[in-house]
């Protein structure tokens, strides 16, 4: 039913309904916070993990590179050792070359030459460090060396010994590793070259040459036993990587210990940024949440006010109608729909509203265009006629005022429409009741008077009749000529006196009625005929409506006023019209329309003739003779006073009342006309003339005398 103006959100019921679908609102917020925390934690964890794995990767890469470097170093050493002069060379040359080699390669601690019996032939210690076998003789620490040499001999390739510890004089010691190369001539072993590596020195060299210098290296046995540390002890012990380096005859694990500590939250820039951004994000979410709450509140307030507005509009009895600047209906409320009986859809679409009566639509259209053209924006109230869907017309009061949009611009008109038909109906009923009351009062006056008069007359007449009859009875019983005894004479005397008294009383009643009527004569005044007719018309219409009779007025224009007792003449008109209407009611002839005509004509300059025509059955001769007899009536409920009283009244005014059957073309009686005359008011001219005449009448003798 309801239609909102365009651009106005329709207050759909879900928006108003306090019950929401799905989980409660707080659940969403808790979920959001939990998710946010989880994501932040994950992000933080990932960041830390990334950094950890990056550090680990660096270490891995470092250890790879270092292992490669170590291999290269060992390979280079091997080649240098192999390039030492052989057995055939002179020992000084070997020494010289060995010395050079030891200086160039500080990781080598000692170079030895041994014969096939593994006896030491030449030896040269590194000049850069303290000689390794100072505390204990070499012979006591060459078991591993011998094993390596045997292996080298057996496999025909250089072989490394297992590492072993050589204590130093200062209480410390050094872990060493021997490289043994079997010298051969053909298949025969001619001796051995042994090179002793100091593992710490090796690590020193390695850390000096590896790409990121200053790494914390360590060497371990494959089983994890620490062999040697590099020069740097900076390793944090968190990120480590080791690499097993396979050497012929032995294996060494190279371990790289990154100086990077476990990544921590605060000092880390990236972590700090992540945490900061997370906190900012939280703040934004909180702000957003508050904003959402505010919006939700505003929304619910809006929905509430919309609902209130709608409830208000729906509960109104007054119809509401909004029109835009082109006079198109944009909104109607249910009350208006109910008033005109159309659906809202039917009212909104058409250019010309369906509630305009067809015969008035053009005028309304013109009026509306005028209003549009004038751009009137003031409040306006006017009465108009609308038509309901069922075709019924009804009067309506329209209050129209300018409609302004949110920006205050004139957007159309808002009309409040009040259906006046109920009010009219009430007024009509009240008027009818008033009329009925008046009619009853008037009829009661006449009827009561008649009843009163008849009772007043009945009493003396009854007494007279009783006495007269009784007297006759007595006289009949008495023998004529016989003497009248005293008692009988007395009673007859009483009877005669009573008869006389009661006759006088009856006379007094009649005289008082006469006086009453005469008193009314002084109430005469000039009255326009139209006023007389109008005074009785509501009553006549009331009766006419009950019997479906049409009333027609035929009053000659410019009639003179009639001089009469208004109330009396109205009574006459009422009586005559009522008689006419009742006469027509009595005739069940449906072929003839029931019409009552009230006609007024100036019959002569001094008289006005009023006629009441009906289309009833007429008056037959039998009835006509008795028509004006008092107490004659053809109706069971009638008092029979009507026509005789009417005639009396008219005659008291100096007029005459008669009737005539109206005949149609076929000379058949088609109704009756009751006519009566009333004296017209004399015009001023006539009055003057009368006055002059009167004066002349009184003066003729004098005039004649003058002439004579």
């Amino acid at each position: 039913m309801n239609r909102m103006p365009p651009g106005m959100p329709a207050p759909s019921s879900p928006a108003i309904a306090p019950v929401r679908e799905g989980p409660p609102r707080w659940f969403l917020w808790v979920a959001l916070v939990i998710l946010l925390v989880a994501v932040q934690a994950l992000l933080l964890g990932l960041t830390l993990h990334y950094r950890s794995s990056k550090a680990q990767e660096e270490v891995e890469a470092g250890v790879l590179a270092s292992a490669e470097e170590l291999r290269k170093m060992l390979g280079a050493d091997l080649r240098r050792v192999l390039n030492l002069p052989g057995r055939e060379a002179a020992p000084p040359l070997w020494r010289e070359r060995a010395q050079v080699l030891l200086i160039e390669r500080p990781e080598l601690l000692r170079l030895e030459r041994r014969d096939t019996a593994f006896a030491l032939t030449h030896a040269m210690d590194t000049p850069t460090r303290s000689p390794p076998f100072a505390r204990i003789p070499r012979a006591e620490a060459q078991l591993e060396t011998e094993l390596a040499c045997r292996a080298a001999e057996r496999r025909s390739e250089p072989s490394y010994s297992r590492s072993f510890f050589v204590p130093h004089a200062d209480g410390g010691g050094v872990e060493v590793l021997d490289l043994c190369i079997a010298e051969r001539i053909g298949e025969r072993v001619t001796g051995y070259v042994v090179a002793t590596y100091g593992l710490p020195a090796l690590l020193d060299q390695l850390s000096a040459s590896a790409p990121p210098p200053g790494l914390d290296f360590a060497m371990l046995e494959p089983d994890g036993t620490m062999l040697a540390h590099g020069p740097q002890r900076s390793g944090a012990g968190v990120f480590r990587a080791s690499r097993l380096i396979d050497l012929p005859g032995t294996a060494i694990q190279l371990q790289l210990n990154s100086p990077a500590a476990r990544p921590s939250l605060v000092p880390d820039l990236v972590t700090t940024m992540v945490v900061g951004l997370s906190l900012t994000l939280f703040g934004v979410v909180v702000l957003l949440a508050r904003d959402v709450r505010r919006r939700a509140r505003a929304e619910s307030e809006l929905a509430e006010s919309l609902a209130f507005r709608k409830a208000m509009e729906d509960s109104l009895v007054t119809g509401l109608r909004a029109r835009d600047l082109e006079a198109r209906t944009t909104y109607v409320n249910p009350a208006f729909c109910a008033m005109v009986g159309f659906e809202a859809d039917e009212l909104l679409s058409p250019a010309r509203p369906p509630y305009w009566p067809a015969e008035l639509a053009d005028e309304y259209q013109r009026r509306q265009e005028e209003r549009l053209a004038s751009g009137a924006q003031t409040r306006d109230a006017f009465e108009t006629t609308f038509v309901r869907k069922n075709g019924e017309r009804f009067p309506a009061m329209v209050f129209e005022s300018a409609l302004r949009d949110a920006s205050g611009a004139h957007a159309g008109w808002m009309s409040a429409i009040v259906d006046l038909s109920a009010q009219r109906r009430v007024e009509e009923v009240a008027r009818q009741q008033q009329d009925r009351l008046q009619a009853t009062a008037r009829l009661a006056t006449i009827g009561e008077m008649a009843s009163l008069v008849s009772h007043e007359l009945n009493q003396p007449l009854s007494a007279i009749a009783a006495y007269a009859t009784g007297t006759l009875n007595v006289m009949d019983a008495h023998t004529p000529g016989a003497p009248l005894d005293a008692e009988l004479w007395g009673s007859l005397h009483v009877a005669a006196r009573q008869i006389a008294q009661q006759s006088e009383r009856a006379g007094r009643v009649i005289k008082s009625v006469h006086d009453f009527v005469r008193r009314r004569e002084s109430a005469r005044e000039p009255v326009p005929v139209a006023e007389l007719v109008e005074a009785v018309l509501p009553l006549v219409r009331l009766q006419a409506r009950k019997s479906d009779t049409a009333i027609e007025l035929d009053l000659e224009p410019g009639l003179r006023k009639v001089v009469c007792d208004r109330a009396m003449v109205e009574q006459v008109l009422l009586n005559l019209t009522r008689n006419g209407i009742q006469a027509m009611q009595g005739s069940p002839r449906d072929d003839r329309r029931r019409v009552l005509v009230l006609r007024a004509r100036a019959s002569t300059p001094q008289w006005v003739l009023l006629s009441v025509f009906d289309t009833g059955p007429g008056v037959d001769a039998e009835v006509a003779r008795k028509l004006f007899t008092p107490f004659f009536t053809t109706r069971s409920e009638g008092m029979g006073l009507g026509l005789s009283v009417c005639r009396t009244i008219v005659e008291q005014h100096g007029g005459a009342l008669d009737f005539e059957n109206v005949r149609d073309a076929a000379d058949a009686v088609c109704g009756v006309a009751f006519r009566f005359t009333l004296p017209a008011e004399r015009g001023r001219l006539a009055a003057t003339r009368d006055a002059i005449d009167a004066e002349i009448d009184t003066q003729p003798p004098a005039t004649l005398a003058n002439e004579g």
């Binding site: 009783a466 009859t469 009784g470």
Partner: protein
């Protein structure tokens, strides 16, 4: 008109107008009828009460043929109201009511006749029409009184019968023979004959046929 055993007929006149009352009384007297006037319904009502209180009993009044001539329109208690009292007292048969009506009261009077009034006479009445109607009403009253008396006399006689005699009487009325009655009542035929003779004597009848006539309502 006068019925010796019923006493003098009496006409009760209720009219608030003294002249009318006197006139009608005069008229009635010219036809040798006694009348008693009351100026209102209340006055007549009071008179009735007094008669009832004087110990004669409601059933026994009126003991002579009576008639009530009642004006329809009176001050105070209207004629119709008094008429209703008369009906309530069960006097309608023995005290016929004739209404006097003025012009315009005819429909009311007609309604009253339908309720049981004897008649109405319109004022002003002429000739002896009213008196004629009064006499007819008195005649009806006399008939009603006679019937009432007869009924009460029979009642008295029936009350004289003993219980057994009443039984015998009922059986006789049903047409049973003496022998059958003796068997029904378990007594001898002789006893029945004695009872039967006693019933006949007490009720003043000679035969079963007469007995039936007496018992017929």
């Amino acid at each position: 008109m006068t019925t010796p055993e019923l006493g003098l007929p009496m006409v009760y006149l209720v009219d608030d107008e003294q002249v009318v009352r006197q006139g009608v009384a005069w008229l009635l007297r010219s036809r040798r009828l006694l009348s008693d006037g009351f100026d209102s319904g209340e006055a007549f009502e009071t008179a009735l009460e007094q008669r009832a209180a004087s110990g004669m009993g409601r059933d026994d009044w009126p003991d002579s043929p009576s008639c009530l001539v009642l004006d329809l329109r009176m001050g105070g208690m209207s004629g119709l109201a008094l008429f209703e009292r008369v009906i309530a007292r069960g006097l309608l048969e023995t005290l016929p009511v004739i209404f006097l009506t003025g012009h315009g009261d005819v429909p009311t009077a007609v309604a009253a006749v339908k309720r049981g009034a004897f008649d109405f006479v319109e004022k002003p009445f002429s000739n002896n029409a009213l008196v004629d109607r009064v006499e007819q009403a008195l005649a009806r009253s006399a008939a009603a009184l006679l019937k009432r008396r007869e009924l009460s006399a029979r009642q008295r006689r029936l009350e004289q019968l003993s219980k057994r005699e009443r039984e015998v009487m009922e059986l006789v009325a049903s047409g049973m023979s003496n022998k059958a009655m003796a068997e029904t009542l378990q007594v001898s035929v002789r006893t029945i004959e004695v009872h039967r003779a006693s019933v006949y004597e007490k009720l003043g009848v000679q035969s079963a046929v007469e007995l039936l006539n007496v018992l017929r309502p």
